[in-house]
């Protein structure tokens, strides 16, 4: 995990530049996904805070990121948000929160970069209330063999550059971690997805 932290500290300076195109593409879909966020919200992987503009106003958000450099660069966006954002440096796989703390947990392109995605999702389930929602905006490995091959080959480069994996099966991982997928929308091909999951308490 410390390697990931170092790599995200390293790319923090150019993170906004490299994500600008994605934000232009995904803005409307993120607005639609986030409009129903409610209650006490845990925002995993705030990064430089690019998604904050897509959050509805008035939320009580606890935002975490393991990279100090990213957190530093999110300050202005967090201050401009019309609601409460409390930021802290923390690893998504081992958060320091009590069980059943949050009504909603939000991840945006986080489960592609944590070392153990199922462990991370289990940790998110632990801090989420039993009737809470996990809201994910994530990219996954395409089931189309051509797209899948391209993602697998590019994954070696993105792993090397910034510790991001393009070949994660996040839907299956969420189910393996004890979530039921309640809403599943493809944003780009079957690669970028807007997902809402609830803890499986059966």
């Amino acid at each position: 995990m410390s390697n990931n932290k170092k790599s995200y500290d390293g790319v923090a300076k150019v993170f906004d530049y490299f994500r600008a195109g994605d934000m232009r593409r995904w803005g409307p879909d993120q607005l639609a996904l986030f409009k129903n966020l409610h209650g006490k919200v845990l925002y995993i992987g705030i990064g430089t805070g690019q998604e904050i503009v897509n959050f509805p106003p008035g939320l009580d958000i606890t935002a975490v990121d393991m990279s100090y450099e990213m957190l530093k660069r999110s300050q202005t966006r967090a201050q401009n948000y019309h609601g409460k954002i409390h930021r802290c440096q923390m690893d998504a796989q081992t958060t320091g929160f009590r069980d059943n703390t949050f009504d909603t947990v939000v991840t945006v392109c986080v489960l592609c970069s944590v070392n153990e995605p199922i462990n991370c999702l289990q940790e998110l389930k632990r801090v989420l209330k039993p009737d809470g929602e996990l809201v994910m905006f994530e990219h996954v490995l395409s089931k189309n063999p051509v797209y899948g091959l391209i993602l697998k080959s590019m994954s070696h480069i993105t792993e090397f550059m910034e510790g991001t994996y393009l070949d994660r099966n996040t839907v299956e991982n969420a189910e393996a971690a004890g979530f039921n997928i309640h809403s599943h929308k493809n944003v780009y091909l079957d690669i970028v997805k807007a997902l809402v999951a609830k803890p499986n308490i059966g």
């Binding site: 391209i150 993602l151 929308k185 493809n186 780009y188 091909l189 690669i191 970028v192």
Partner: protein, 117 residues
């Protein structure tokens, strides 16, 4: 510029660029199988820096997927075309442009199908 329109421009530009470079590099070869393989490799190698250059402006996956297909597909076919006798470089580039445009179109309609599910 509308990003959907930009996708078609990027596909066309990338296809033409790959075809031109492959033709300039391999037009002296006569072995069609060899030029096909080399053309595919050149196409993939050439479009890697182009992907990194375009991703910040047009989105990572929206650039990565079409250029991944165009690099190999156009590179291979342009390599094969370059071995044909009396074929002009302009014809190979025109093929690259057309193939890039068609691939961008296929991905556009593929995306429509996935996102409407």
């Amino acid at each position: 510029m509308n990003l959907k329109v930009a996708d078609f421009f990027i596909g066309t530009f990338a296809g033409g660029t790959v075809a031109m470079v492959v033709h300039l590099t391999l037009s002296s070869q006569s072995n069609m199988l060899l030029t096909m393989v080399l053309g595919g490799l050149i196409g993939m190698a050439l479009l890697l820096p182009l992907k990194i250059l375009l991703m910040p402006f047009f989105g990572a996956f929206e650039v990565m997927i079409p250029l991944g297909i165009i690099g190999m597909g156009v590179g291979m076919t342009a390599g094969m075309l370059s071995t044909l006798p009396n074929i002009s470089g302009y014809a190979v580039i025109a093929w690259g442009d057309l193939a890039g445009f068609i691939i961008a179109g296929i991905i556009y309609f593929s995306n429509q199908r996935y996102t409407e599910q």
